[in-house]
């Protein structure tokens, strides 16, 4: 048994599809090829198997996701995760926010930052560079049309290069994409098998 979750957690989560996933035994060659590269290292999950209904889109999206989240140099990975957590919170995607809050904490050894964001949202008190990243990620997520050249200034003032700003933009934008797939093709659930903080 599973139950839907609406809050944010650092506990284990699962994802329940609303559309029957592709049956791997009956998958076409094209679907199999598209499933080879997946954003996560785990065995092929229901999420990827649902996306495999459109193998052409999946085949491009997986390497795009990896290039944006794991591309070398530029914005440190933890700060990409920070932007992603902000986007996911605003978009209401508990699953994405939880997974990426955990990644941030693993990368930085600073769980306190995510605790503050979980508690106070994008208004959380943070160090100036993190604050600039969070503010830009929030504005870009809420209303991209409202972004103006002036929004680059606080990021640059905190030492972000143009490549780092581009990386942050890509990461936040990627979760305008990912959050929409996650929340509209199925729902996050929490396994009932063990005590969960929820």
């Amino acid at each position: 048994m599973t139950r839907p979750i609406r809050n944010f957690t650092q506990g284990e989560l699962d994802w329940q599809p609303w559309l029957a996933p592709v049956d791997l035994d009956a998958a076409t060659d094209e679907q199999r090829a598209a499933l080879k590269i997946t954003p996560s290292n785990r065995t092929i999950g229901a999420y990827s198997l649902v996306l495999a209904h459109d193998p052409e889109a999946l085949e491009q999206r997986s390497p795009l996701y990896n290039a944006i989240m794991f591309g070398p140099k530029g914005l440190p990975r933890a700060e990409r995760e920070l932007g992603v957590v902000v986007a996911s919170r605003i978009n209401g995607c508990a699953y994405c926010a939880s997974v990426h809050a955990k990644r941030f904490a693993e990368l930085t050894k600073a769980p306190e930052v995510m605790r503050r964001i979980q508690q106070d949202g994008v208004q959380a008190t943070l160090e100036p560079r993190q604050k600039a990243i969070v503010d830009y990620a929030a504005k870009l997520t809420r209303d991209p049309a409202a972004i103006t050249p002036a929004d680059a200034a606080p990021l640059r003032a905190q030492g972000l290069s143009d490549l780092e700003i581009l990386d942050l933009t890509h990461a936040v934008a990627m979760f305008a994409w990912a959050n929409r797939l996650m929340q509209t093709l199925g729902e996050a659930t929490t396994p009932a098998r063990e005590g969960n903080p929820l």
């Binding site: 609303w18 559309l19 029957a20 649902v50 996306l51 209904h53 459109d54 052409e56 889109a57 085949e59 491009q60 999206r61 390497p63 795009l64 990896n66 290039a67 944006i68 591309g71 530029g74 978009n91 209401g92 995607c93 870009l140 997520t141 991209p144 049309a145 972004i147 103006t148 050249p149 002036a150 929004d151 680059a152 200034a153 640059r156 143009d162 490549l163 700003i165 581009l166 990386d167 942050l168 933009t169 890509h170 936040v172 934008a173 990627m174 305008a176 994409w177 990912a178 959050n179 929409r180 797939l181 929340q183 509209t184 093709l185 729902e187």
Partner: protein, 156 residues
């Protein structure tokens, strides 16, 4: 076709071949390649799976106008005109698709299984449902990348 220079994102952001920002984008060659590849897969797939090319452009146009992105609106409007079918989203099927475009763009957290069931009921295949979802999500992504590029261009 995905390594063409300029690509769709350069064109939309108004980046000239030798501009600093076009060069900056190319420091992320895999992003450039697969972003264009995604655009191709979403708008000109080899197999459309039941969601037609004009329907795809019309859905993208709707996302662009919901986001008040006039550059993207013009882009998708032009492509729709080129296909010669200005109003492909009609009747129960069209209304159901448009309602989904609006919901996924503006209130993705409010989506429910009933919305997917409704799309299947009006005749979309599972392939078409996933294509529609990818398309809506992609244009939401695209508008934000474009906003960031415009910001960097204006702040150069």
């Amino acid at each position: 076709m995905s390594d063409g220079n300029p690509d769709v994102m350069d064109t939309l952001a108004g980046l000239a071949d030798e501009s600093a920002l076009a060069a900056l984008r190319r420091q992320r060659p895999d992003v450039v390649r697969h972003l264009q590849g995604s655009d191709d897969a979403i708008f000109a797939p080899a197999h459309h799976g039941g969601l037609t090319r004009p329907e795809r452009e019309a859905c993208a146009l709707r996302v662009a106008s919901l986001l008040r992105d006039s550059v993207l609106e013009e882009h998708y409007h032009r492509r729709l005109v080129a296909l010669g079918e200005m109003h492909p989203l009609n009747g129960t099927r069209g209304e159901c698709i448009l309602a989904h475009v609006d919901r996924v763009t503006m209130d993705p957290a409010d989506a429910a299984k009933a919305d997917i069931d409704a799309l299947l009921t009006v005749g979309l295949s599972p392939h078409a449902v996933v294509s529609l979802s990818q398309l809506i999500a992609y244009v939401n992504f695209q508008s934000r990348v474009l906003a960031g590029l415009r910001m960097l261009k204006g702040a150069a």
